[in-house]
Amino acid sequence: MTVESTAARKPRKRSTGARKASPKASPGAPQSEPELVQLLTPEGKRVGHAENAVYDEYVAGITPEELRGLYRDMVLTRRFDAEATSLQRQGELGLWASLLGQEAAQIGSGRATRPDDYVFPTYREHGVAWCRGVDPTNLLGMFRGVNHGGWDPNSNNFHLYTIVIGSQTLHATGYAMGLAKDGADAAVIAYFGDGASSQGDVAESFTFSAVYNAPVVFFCQNNQWAISEPTEKQTRVPLYQRAQGYGFPGVRVDGNDVLACLAVTRWALERARRGEGPTLVEAFTYRMGAHTTSDDPTRYRLDDERLAWEAKDPILRLRTYLESENHADEGFFAELEAESEALGKRVRERVRAMPDPDHFAIFENVYADGHALVDEERAQFAAYQASFADGEGA
């Protein structure tokens, strides 16, 4: 009748000031962390099937081609991301939120979705967007400042990026409630971060999804930082444990292991589709870059930490495995390199060609059915604009 949390046993000094100062020595050191589902070690070795039998079966029959596909996805996503970062530096974008380091979490989970599933991203799910078939250049519009969301969510069942932290988890839950009502054979996946886990909306989405047994997977990319705040500012126990208190399962997966992410997400989505309700997946990973291009991580974390995580690079890991198993040859890698270059080039060209929106776009789509005040203001704006044209003409 008493649930004692292991982490809560040791008394701490009761002052906020007494909490250990960050940067932490090594926040993600596996030894101090709870076990996580891992199918590929950081050294690129396949973990025995027995250890994670429940999840392993979801990737048991994976073919070398599929593995190469995952590798390709990660490489191209990283390339796209790097291109966007450099486009920001060149002034073509106002801002960029890089996913560097989180490719496995995103490609693994994204590839686990089916076309009929629906995805609710944050603002960093460029890899998931890739898996959903969203043209990556469309993601850049909002970062360039030409729109607030440049794709049709229903074309790829990939919702718009949501910036207000956590709010999309409720939209995802509502959508999943709708799927259930429709008896659809599909599920929803909602992405959020470790920082977002503190928002009331995320907790409410856990409550609603549990009460209505909604077919939704909550996919938390714990990249260990919310801008400058380490995860210990959000929770004192591992995040996947949050689910239990709401009555559904939580799993921690190695977020740098694309195979494990694929397997665990498939398992969770399957549960949802089978009518077993929500699941929380915590993908334990690391934000290798800055929060966004506006951020300066040197102010709050040591370089050592990043270096330690480079050794666990998700792409390197799969490459080692592919090579050691002879699943990919030189030709494959060379071809991919060329494809990568081509992608970069296309992104650069498309962004530079992206026109500024028409001024009247301010007044577009404020309402679906129109609104007298918007009409009035649009007309005033037009008259005002025209007054300059007149002036010039005079």
């Binding site: 607030h148 969301g149 969510p153 718009l160 939209h171 709708g178 799927l179 909306d201 309402y367 609104h371």
Partner: protein, 326 residues
């Protein structure tokens, strides 16, 4: 049988029933809307007849209610959400303002959110804190929302029909102290435009503009003024976003005087916008500044003070006198 006399609450109930019958995508969501039929019985009997799948008792979490309603709308549903009392809409304010109001624009028109949020509002029922507020200006200021309020049973029925049919999010303020007022509803009428004001009582000396619970007060004030030989025109605004300034302008061009009445605090209330805009439109017609009667810049007071706080007949007539004295 199309014309029936019914209380305002019942008219909304009938309207919701009609919507549930005609469109399988319509859902009712909220706290206690099921078996209890809502604390005001506005959803009475609907769960019994349409099932728990369409009339949904939700967890006690307003952000969750609106947030999941957004998700359901994205899936093609048309949720009609109940907030139990005006003061309890604020936990949902973030979802309403940053998501519900903006998602259509954010998606460049790709996504539509036909969500209706029903909020019983206003005072006069002797309730405890948070149960008597009029927060409409806090929604009308936000682009992307439509904000309306019926003052009588017929409008309650038809404006709810139109709100549900609208592809835009609509904040539907229900004048709770008028829930029990009866009026005729013609369920086969051809409704007027949703956002058009209505002349409730024609007059020539001064225009009174009100909406929701204050329309009745203004009509009574006009009747009292009539006895003193003053002819007041009463306009029921019906919509606070958009506001039908054309109708107000037409009236003020005739009368030359305007008093706006609402329960909400005067400071930055909808009356401020009406005063500012009508003064601009009718600068040479106005014989007196636009006057406003409304709540004070203070929290809604305890019940035993609400009679002093709320605009009543006397305060409206006082403003009328002041306006006519110019």
């Amino acid at each position: 049988m199309a014309v029936e006399k019914m209380a305002l609450a019942k008219a909304i109930n009938e309207s919701l029933r009609t919507a549930l019958e005609t469109d399988p995508k319509v859902l009712i969501m909220g706290e206690d809307v099921g078996k209890l039929g809502g604390v005001f019985r506005v959803t009475d009997g609907l769960q019994k007849d349409f099932g728990e799948d369409r009339v949904i008792d939700t967890p006690l979490a307003e952000s969750g209610i609106v947030g999941t309603a957004i998700g359901l709308a994205l899936r093609g549903y048309r949720p009609v959400v109940e907030i139990q009392f005006d003061g309890f809409v604020f936990p949902a304010y973030d979802q309403i303002v940053t998501q519900l109001a903006k998602m259509h624009a954010r998606s460049l028109g790709k996504v539509k959110l036909p969500v209706v949020i029903r909020i019983p509002y206003g005072g006069g029922i002797g309730a405890v804190e948070h149960h008597s507020e009029s927060p409409e200006a806090l929604f009308a200021h936000v682009a992307g929302l439509k904000v309306i309020s019926p003052s009588n049973s017929s409008d309650a029925y038809w404006m709810m029909q139109q709100a549900i049919q609208s592809d835009d999010p609509v904040i539907f303020f229900e004048p709770k102290r008028r829930y029990w007022d009866k009026g005729e509803v013609d369920t086969e009428a051809i409704p007027g435009q949703l956002h058009k004001a209505r002349v409730v009582r024609p007059g020539s000396d001064l225009t009174l503009v009100a909406y929701g619970p204050m329309v009745k007060v203004c009509v009574e004030a006009a009747a009292a003024a009539q006895e003193e030989g003053k002819s007041l025109e009463v306009l029921d605004l019906r919509s606070m976003s958009p506001i039908d300034f054309d109708s107000v302008q037409t009236s003020v061009e005739k009368t030359g005087r305007l008093v706006v009445v609402h329960e909400a605090p005067v400071f930055l209330g909808t009356g401020a916008e009406i005063a500012a805009r009508i003064t601009e439109r009718c600068f040479y017609h106005l014989e007196a500044p636009v006057l406003r009667v409304g709540g004070y810049h203070a929290p809604y007071p305890p019940a035993r003070l609400e009679e002093e706080y709320l605009p009543g007949l006397d305060r409206v007539l006082d403003a009328v006198d002041r306006s006519l004295a110019y």
